[in-house]
Symmetry: C2
Subunit: 229 residues, 2 copies
């Protein structure tokens, strides 16, 4: 039987496809590297050429999902008629829409990633996502600075600060996950909503914009994502 030689990127994507399907089907915890290997019929050596551990798969999946998300808003990012604020708000609105559409999968992923013992995983996923988003956000902020609307000394530094700010919502999200399905659910969702609103205000202010310029939540968004099954 002739050996099928795949290009490295194809093989890498094939491994990520299989892992992503298994993680959602069986759960991240109950999936092993051997399951992924068996699913696509490659050797252990072939797997470990691309990834050194199961955690790397989640990081790779995150980077790919972030790249996909950026590709799906490419039209907005490249539309020459948009000023920076419209581009940023359009991008965020589309991201929220995608999150609501994928809410059941997203919520299942949250259940794993926000466990206290998975804090490391959370930070690795966050770093993988920040690496993809940094150039996109830097470009939008640079446009806003050129237009004289965003008041920041250094667009890349502003982008990094804003993206890292996301981690400040970690504990509030974790509390909401813990409260889902209990009597505290409504209060936890309202608290997270407030936190996200203030997160939006912090971003407005870092960019030198009036409060409320960049809405991070709209009515029902937090509930739709956090209670999806």
């Amino acid at each position: 039987m002739p050996r099928v030689v795949k290009r490295p990127d194809d093989r890498r994507n094939e491994i990520l496809d299989a892992a992503q399907a298994l993680f959602f089907e069986r759960g991240y915890e109950r999936t092993t590297v051997n399951d992924v290997i068996a699913q696509i019929g490659i050797s252990k050596g072939g797997f470990y050429h691309h990834f050194s551990a199961k955690e790397d798969l989640l990081e790779g999946i995150t980077a790919r999902l972030a790249q996909d998300a950026v590709a799906r808003v490419r039209d907005l990012l490249e539309d020459p008629s948009l000023d920076a604020l419209a581009r940023l708000n359009g991008f965020l609105a589309r991201s929220r829409q995608m999150k609501v559409e994928d809410a059941p999968k997203l919520r299942a992923a949250f259940d794993v990633v926000f466990r206290p013992e998975n804090l490391v995983l959370y930070h690795r996923i966050n770093a993988a996502s920040i690496a993809v988003m940094r150039p996109v956000l830097t470009g939008i902020i640079a446009q806003g600075k050129t237009e004289g609307v965003f008041a920041v000394p250094d667009p890349e530094a502003a982008a990094e600060i804003i993206l890292h700010l996301g981690a400040s919502t970690h504990d509030a999200v974790a509390r909401t996950i813990a409260a889902t399905g209990t009597a505290d659910e409504d209060a936890a969702i309202e608290a997270l909503d407030q936190r996200l609103r203030f997160y939006g205000v912090a971003v407005d202010r870092i960019l030198g914009l009036p409060d409320g310029s960049i809405p991070f939540v709209e009515p029902g968004f937090t509930r739709a994502v956090m209670t999806a099954r």
Copy 2:
């Protein structure tokens, strides 16, 4: 020989004292849990009653150092004559002074904590430090809100956001560490200085203050800490 029964907190502190001394003397990587156990002559069981791994020791040391730092500025935190902005700036100035005094030890710790493979350790140490600082900063921001000077909806959320913002400087610090002693040293220190200045501006803005209200660096501070040996 009568067995010496120590109170749990005393024993815990004794373990942390020994670990802290060994980490600074031999380096974190070259110190093992067995070294710590041998140094104070306790049983393995006695050690694992308090800590589950070497990483826990660094987290415990960080929390203790943060508590010590807060204790050393207690006078500023409790001085009834200070308004919130003066209290916050006094607290930060004192923190910088302590960092410069401890610069050689701090720089040696940075060498370990900012290695790419120690990102997890960095986040755990950061979380331990944030847990100690959160109530302190929340108190100051609440005072500033009451005085009508800090414009924030929720002092605790503002404190959490500001403390998490610290992690956005991780990569810039890591780059400066890598550049120390090379031809790029001056440029890396200047880049980190700029980043820290913008970090200060981000904090000003999040608190609704004019840019420059809360200086995060003063001339020579970054160089003093980053080039200490």
